[in-house]
């Protein structure tokens, strides 16, 4: 709204640079890799959720004609107890290697055990059936609260409970890997000042990112020990680091070539197939491709945790929050590392909570090791906190947006976990939504003969900065080739190229953005944390500034004047000297003869984002006879900083909302008592179809982030945070039932409706 007219390129909607490749089928994704002489491979996966591996014999599989190599955990070096810094934080290598290929035990159904490379996929699949394996089944733990009991069987002997903050670690093996405790003010005093206190318990199921492209990796291990890996990843550099650690190969001997990536949402950061494909290539001497099927994607990659939460909030007679507490236990899956820490930090972040405490627990259970999923952890917490707030507003007869405006976190508000907010736009998202046509319009009449209701909810996500590097070379026709190391998961080539164009006064089409391999650009952290348009944007901006300085020097050589007499005019994209000027394009034609090629470089290292907020409004219609909820109308109001390419910003908001609607209404892993996921297909793990949802209206609130030269904020993650709570609040408004369980699927909701009667 505010910033649109400040810029020439930023705020416009050019066709994305990689678009033609993607609408013609020419773009190469993970499984599209084909290398001369390549083998195909398949994996043996555990049918048990928890078992000791008593015997593993691959000899019959190895003898099948057409089989070229079989690998098991024995083909990966034992990392011992090593903890490695892998860009995203400390990773216990003993756990990572056991997740890639099981060693002593299998810890979840689908856990990878062995892999076969053969002349074609069918031979590889037949050979997998010839691997002989004996298991000793163990008791299965699926529920966090069960797994936290002292009597529970322990999944990992080496896990001790780390008290984060206190800095102490327990002495006995446990499933509880971490306990976070945050505290602010005096909680007891806070609750004493409250007029209304509501405390509720919530449970949510395991959900998956659901990207349409299954994981795929192709690797070549050359006789000189150098390894090349082609894969669809959110972070080529972290794949390089992880594979270096897992394979025992020097980092510099591994080149990771990122293909296009068909969705990730946090699930394509950790490696699964890459080291296995490399080990198969080493053993067979040929390039090897390994692709997951859909069932493996659901059963054996990293979904996001199921959770148990208890939230208590007190509000005084003026409608101000006086205190809040949250207890959150997240299932980490087979190995520690759920996003519980971030969940605990986000829980109350939308509000100015004077007295609060949050306890978070990271708990191992017999499910796949969890991973990030779009604002990891925040959605679970928001479901609980925003539901309690809605109930309080109902009790106090307060308009839920008035309440949020009154209690909104602002610049200077201290979060319960400590940090103080810089300039943020929480209040503005509420204000814009309050004034929206949707919120000012009465509820529609039922379309299907059910009951209608409206709900609102807010959400917060940090957005991170991390490291990005880029370089840009000026071509003789005045175009600029931009080399990037952050994979483009949804339009970032365009949003970064636009920032370089803005910096130089060029057009978006003057820039040729390319995502290049790990040997071809400086270090980049992953595409994640809503950071790429922000941080790689800064790197591109810096590269642009570097180009300007060099172009000034080249013009000075051309005109034989001192560089201090030359300046770069962005408005006209030209160099201005004493009585002279030359356009960028005209000078580009001559730079090779007046000083040499111009190569700009830039990186972002220290910049950190101020965080992103959204407030959502949804109208639903509930069929009280079946428990089915239909979304009638949805509006999302989000602080997007500066919308670089508004179409793709809207797209991020719409996509996040619809994923959140899926989480709210349909999605969950159904486990039987043996720990077998019974709905490991898209038919039964039902993500929203185009027929399930309406248009998603977006309000782009622009509160520029002062940390970024163009005020960019990450936009990708926070839109998934409020939907489950907003839908739950709308259902409560429609049928008077407060859902404390996700998903709010027809059977789950009908049960509560009937219980209410």
């Amino acid at each position: 709204m505010a910033t649109a007219n400040k810029y020439k390129v930023i705020g416009t909607r050019p066709v994305r640079h990689d678009g033609v490749d993607k609408v013609t089928g020419r773009a190469r994704y993970g499984a599209d890799t084909k290398i001369q002489g390549m083998l195909y491979s398949a994996m043996l996966r555990s049918p048990h959720a928890h078992a000791k591996i008593k015997r593993l014999d691959t000899s019959k599989a190895e003898k099948l004609p057409g089989v070229r190599a079989v690998v098991t955990a024995k083909d990966l070096p034992d990392p011992g107890t090593r903890i490695a810094q892998l860009g995203e934080g400390a990773v216990c290598m003993a756990h990572l290697t056991r997740n890639v290929l099981a060693r002593e035990k299998v810890l979840y159904k689908g856990h990878a055990i062995a892999a076969v490379a053969a002349d074609n996929i069918h031979i590889a699949e037949e050979a997998v059936k010839l691997i002989e394996i004996e298991y000793e089944p163990l008791p299965v733990l699926l529920d966090v609260r069960e797994a936290m009991k002292p009597s529970a069987i322990v999944l990992n002997d080496d896990v001790r409970c780390e008290e984060v903050g206190a800095g102490t670690t327990g002495s006995t093996p446990t499933n509880v890997a971490k306990h976070f405790h945050f505290e602010k003010g005096n909680v007891a005093d806070g609750f004493a000042k409250a007029k209304v206190v509501v405390e509720r318990e919530f449970v949510t199921g395991t959900v998956h990112q659901g990207y349409i492209e299954p994981h795929a990796a192709t690797a070549t291990w050359n006789p000189d020990g150098r390894v090349t890996i082609w894969c669809c990843t959110q972070g080529s550099f972290t794949v390089r680091q992880q594979c270096s650690e897992l394979l025992g190969v020097p980092l510099g001997h591994i080149k990771v070539v990122p293909t296009e990536i068909g969705g990730g949402f946090g699930g394509k950061i950790s490696v699964y197939l890459e080291p296995v494909a490399a080990a198969l290539s080493k053993k067979s001497g040929k390039p090897v491709k390994l692709v997951m099927d859909r069932a493996a994607v659901l059963e054996a990659t990293g979904p996001t945790p199921a959770s148990y939460m208890k939230v208590k909030i007190g509000v005084d007679g003026d409608g101000k929050i006086t205190a809040g507490t949250a207890y959150m236990a997240f299932d980490a899956g087979a190995f520690p590392g759920s996003p519980i820490g971030m969940a605990a930090m986000c829980a109350f972040a939308c509000y100015d909570v004077p007295n609060g405490s949050v306890d978070g627990y990271d708990v191992c259970v017999n499910k796949p090791r969890t991973n990030a999923y779009r604002a990891p952890g925040a959605t679970n917490g928001a479901f609980a906190v925003e539901s309690v707030i809605d109930e309080i507003c109902e009790k106090l007869k307060l308009d839920p947006l008035e309440f949020r405006a009154k209690n909104a976190a602002k610049e200077g508000t201290r979060r319960v976990d400590g940090p103080v907010f810089p300039r943020i736009g929480m209040w503005e998202t509420v204000d814009y939504l309050k004034k929206s046509e949707h919120y000012s319009t009465p509820l529609p009449k039922p379309k299907f003969g059910g009951k209608v209701g409206r709900g609102v909810a807010s959400g917060f996500w940090f957005n991170c900065g991390l490291k990005s590097a880029a370089f840009a070379t000026v071509n003789t026709d005045g175009s600029v080739s931009l080399s990037l190391g952050t994979t483009d998961i949804g339009g970032s080539r365009a949003s970064i190229a636009m920032q370089l164009a803005e910096t130089l006064g060029l057009t978006a089409t003057d820039i040729n953005p390319n995502v290049v391999d790990t040997d071809a650009v400086g270090y980049n952290d992953v595409t994640g944390g809503s950071r790429v348009t922000f941080a790689t944007g800064i790197a591109a901006y810096e590269a642009g500034e570097d180009i300007k300085r060099q172009m000034v020097q080249r013009a000075a050589v051309l005109w034989d004047v001192d560089p201090s007499q030359v300046s770069y005019d962005v408005a006209t994209a030209s160099l201005i000297g004493p009585g002279k000027n030359i356009t960028f394009k005209a000078l580009a034609e001559q730079v090779n003869h007046c000083g040499g090629p111009v190569i700009g470089r830039g990186f972002s290292s220290e910049a950190n984002q101020g965080g992103s907020f959204g407030t959502h409004c949804v109208d639903v219609e509930v069929d009280p006879d079946t428990g089915k909820t239909q979304i009638l109308r949805y509006t999302i109001s989000q602080d997007v900083g500066t919308a670089v390419h508004p179409s793709y910003v809207e797209g991020q908001l719409q996509g996040g909302v619809v994923q959140g609607i899926g989480w709210a209404l349909n999605e969950e892993y159904w486990y039987d008592d043996k720990g077998v996921m019974r709905n490991a297909s898209y038919l039964d793990y039902r993500i929203p179809t185009i027929y399930d949802v309406p248009m998603i209206d977006t309000i782009l609130v622009e509160v520029p982030d002062p940390e970024h030269p163009f005020g960019v904020r990450g936009v990708g993650e926070v839109p998934i945070v409020p939907p489950p709570a907003a839908v739950a609040n709308a259902i409560a408004n429609a049928v008077g039932v407060r859902m404390e369980k996700l998903p709010m699927s027809p059977p789950n909701l009908l049960k509560e409706i009937l219980a209410g009667k």
């Binding site: 994305r16 993607k22 609408v23 996929i121 492209e213 859909r294 998961i489 339009g491 719409q654 038919l683």
Partner: protein
């Protein structure tokens, strides 16, 4: 292993013969034997629509068709949609309407949308949603896909009436 079979098809307007095993799906043959990797594999059991191709004038999930079943068939894949003259209107509409993010589902959506518009050049929003419900997208929330199909329908109705027939969409 059963003997390989020779299958003769008309693929994207050209007579194309290929050798395949009876157990190979049409999707596998398109991607692995014929290097037409524009048709994507998302689930291999007909749930996601990423592998949609037009077989004898009807959209099918190519993962659910055996390659040998394509004997004598007319096939159209994403590789046959754009011509030397440029993009097809539905491709253009997806591009200009930002109807893709990661792009993996896009070929399937384009095949299904183009076929659907050839059948129903003036669809309502509800009809568009109903007819694309077999194609899953996890990135966009579908809003811009619906709008792009609407745009293609209003701007290029004539195109579909004229050209699709020639290209064998119906």
């Amino acid at each position: 292993m059963a003997k390989k079979r020779v299958v003769t098809t008309t693929l994207n307007g050209n007579q194309t013969e290929f050798l395949c095993e009876p157990r190979q799906t049409l999707l596998e043959v398109l991607r692995d034997n014929l290097d037409l990797t524009g048709t994507k594999e998302g689930c291999s059991n007909g749930n996601c629509g990423a592998c949609t191709v037009i077989l004898n004038g009807r959209p099918v999930d190519s993962c659910l068709v055996l390659a040998v079943e394509a004997e004598g068939a007319t096939l159209r894949t994403i590789e046959g949609v754009a011509t030397a003259a440029g993009l097809d209107p539905i491709q253009k509409a997806f591009l200009e309407g930002a109807a893709l993010q990661c792009g993996i589902c896009t070929p399937g959506f384009i095949m299904q949308s183009e076929w659907f518009l050839s059948q129903n050049p003036k669809p309502t929003e509800d009809e568009i949603r109903f007819n694309l419900a077999g194609n899953l997208c996890r990135c966009t929330g579908y809003d811009k896909i619906v709008r792009s199909v609407q745009d293609a329908a209003t701007t290029w109705q004539d195109h579909y009436m004229k050209n699709c027939h020639e290209k064998g969409c119906h």
